[in-house]
């Protein structure tokens, strides 16, 4: 088993900085298919995961493609899939939210990971990947964070409005979401996987730090504690955008690996995470990955690595890798990480 990531998550020295590019829809590209087809086909999805590992050799694999849709769809929200060769990422359909906001949250159906939506398919993929690669590389299941799931149950704009007009309802909906996430995450843990929580709708780019504390912090703490008690020693929490304003709450969630996205202040993360002995993943902005030259990405990756200042809990990552990114570009970043860690 690759111990590199484990060591970084414990903020202990390792042979090199771990490399965790955010590859979700791009998995489909590895098998020459569209995300809409791969995310609904257990064999294609499994093959795509193997291809990702073989070609990119990240220091962990994440079972997830359209990560924010799975739980919401299992509850009853409608997801838009694309036809033909359209490589767009499946998303919550317009008017697809299952919850209207006027009914009781208790009327929502709690999803069963063994039966509902694509949860069983994703768990099957995880089972396949663990069977083949489980001894080589950490494998984690992607789950929504509670605020992001609530957004996909009632619609993002509606949820943001409700935080002002009906805060009690939002708390109930986030609470329901937390329970659904616990069930799904536990099913991954039972297969020998870790769990990664994604909650970018709770980013301070959208929600105030006060609202984060009011609506999101406690349910997130509960989820993380639950996963840790269920056997996941490490639970990363991914919130995109500039999260510098919520870094204290972020650390209070109990996640032992948080995200310092490309827009966030890496100095602040370095200072606070070092003090808290908490690992963080720094993201290289992926906006120009499709057309960038490998040399440019080497330079940018190198500059990013300098930010780590030798902190053992530093993990090199990327924001979401666009579908179709040339392999040479991902390898250029990976090689830069490897060279840096050898003293480059």
């Amino acid at each position: 088993m690759n111990k590199r990531l484990e060591q970084a998550l414990n903020c202990e020295p390792s042979d090199r900085v771990p490399f965790l590019p955010a590859i979700y829809e791009h998995k489909a590209w590895f098998v020459g298919e569209t995300p809409s087809r791969v995310c609904r086909d257990v064999n294609l999805f499994t093959t795509a995961m193997f291809a990702e590992y073989e070609r990119v050799q990240p220091d962990a694999l994440t079972v997830g493609m359209d990560v924010y849709n799975v739980e919401a769809e299992a509850v009853g929200s409608k997801v838009l899939y694309y036809r033909g060769e359209d490589s767009s990422v499946p998303a919550l359909a317009p008017e697809g939210a299952v919850f209207r906001g006027s009914e009781d949250v208790a009327s929502l159906k709690m999803p069963d990971p063994k039966k509902d939506g694509r949860m069983p398919l994703n768990l099957e993929v995880a089972r396949n990947v663990v069977r083949v690669l489980g001894r080589e590389v950490p494998i984690r299941g992607a789950v929504s964070g509670p605020f992001s799931l609530a957004a996909h149950l009632v619609g993002p704009e509606h949820l943001f409005m409700l935080t002002v007009t009906h805060p009690r309802l939002v708390k109930d909906l986030v609470g329901f979401s937390a329970e659904a996430i616990k069930r799904y995450g536990e099913a991954f843990i039972d297969l020998g996987c870790g769990v990664v929580i994604f909650d970018s709708q709770a980013s301070p780019e959208l929600l105030s730090p006060q609202m984060y504390r009011e609506f999101v912090l406690q349910p997130t703490q509960n989820i993380i504690k639950y996963f840790q008690q269920a056997g996941a020693s490490h639970v990363p929490l991914i919130i995109g955008g500039n999260t510098t304003k919520i870094i204290d709450s972020y650390l209070e969630t109990g996640a032992n690996n948080i995200l310092c996205d490309a827009k966030a202040d890496s100095k602040e993360f370095l200072e606070k995470c070092s003090k808290a002995r908490r690992a963080f993943r720094r993201n290289l902005d992926s906006a120009n990955f499709l057309e960038a030259k490998p040399e440019e990405l080497r330079r940018r990756a190198s500059a990013m690595l300098q930010e780590s200042q030798g902190f053992a809990g530093f993990i090199a990552g990327t924001s979401v890798v666009p579908y179709g990114t040339p392999l040479a570009n991902l390898l250029a970043i990976r090689e830069t990480v490897q060279e840096y860690s050898r003293g480059g």
Partner: protein
């Protein structure tokens, strides 16, 4: 008295008091205050403060959406009066979220703000392919096309759309502005857009600037 009520209207708008905003608008109309004045000195003034507070981190999306909801409620009341006055739109703006992107909160806010500022809006919705933009430019002859994207992975479709508009021979007929969480001025320049705005209030300023419309509308 009227001045105070216009100030109050602006203030209530910023506080997200949708019903109070609608009530005040009706009261002002009943008193014979001109709809254009209510728009400029109440709604637009109020939303300008909202924009400033959003940029300074005093307000976040939930409060901004509440303010926009108040603005919409007020605009619904003002519209018949504006039509009666024969007020002409300042220009026609085509809006859409680019192909592959299902996020429309930002685009909707821009649409509401532009409408409030006196522009006519043609909203193509979300997940709009380049061809649909091209057809709409031909059908509606807008002065400006506004492209929105929320994801780093879909913002690349802004370039595809601008390139397609160019390939269709329509680029010289329209100005293109872009916006959305991952978008920047630098990116806008790289993809050949005419303008970028980081929020809905600044989008109105940018549109006015591109069309040579004075700040007073």
């Amino acid at each position: 008295m009227t001045m105070n009520e216009l100030d109050e209207l602006a203030q209530c708008l910023g506080q997200g008091q949708t019903k109070r905003v609608a009530d005040l608008t009706q009261q002002l109309l009943d008193k014979g205050v001109g709809p254009q004045r209510i728009l400029n000195e109440g709604l637009i003034a109020g939303m300008a403060v909202v924009g400033e507070k959003m940029r300074s981190g005093e307000m976040y999306l939930p409060e901004v959406l509440q303010a926009a909801s108040g603005m919409q409620a007020s605009l619904r009341l003002l519209k018949p009066y504006l039509v009666k006055e024969g007020a002409q739109p300042l220009g026609k703006i085509l809006l859409g979220t680019v192909k592959g992107d299902m996020h429309d909160i930002g685009k909707n806010l821009v649409g509401i703000m532009l409408q409030g500022a006196g522009f006519e809006i043609v909203d193509l919705g979300l997940n709009v392919p380049p061809q649909k933009f091209i057809e709409a430019i031909t059908d509606h002859t807008p002065a400006i096309v506004g492209l929105s994207a929320m994801l780093t992975t879909t913002m690349l479709n802004m370039k595809t759309t601008i390139d397609a508009i160019g390939a269709a021979g329509l680029r010289s007929q329209v100005k293109v502005i872009v916006g959305g969480a991952p978008v920047s001025q630098k990116f806008a320049e790289e993809i050949g857009a005419d303008g970028y705005a980081r929020d809905a209030v600044l989008a109105v300023d940018k549109v006015k600037q591109l069309l040579g419309v004075s700040a007073q509308g």
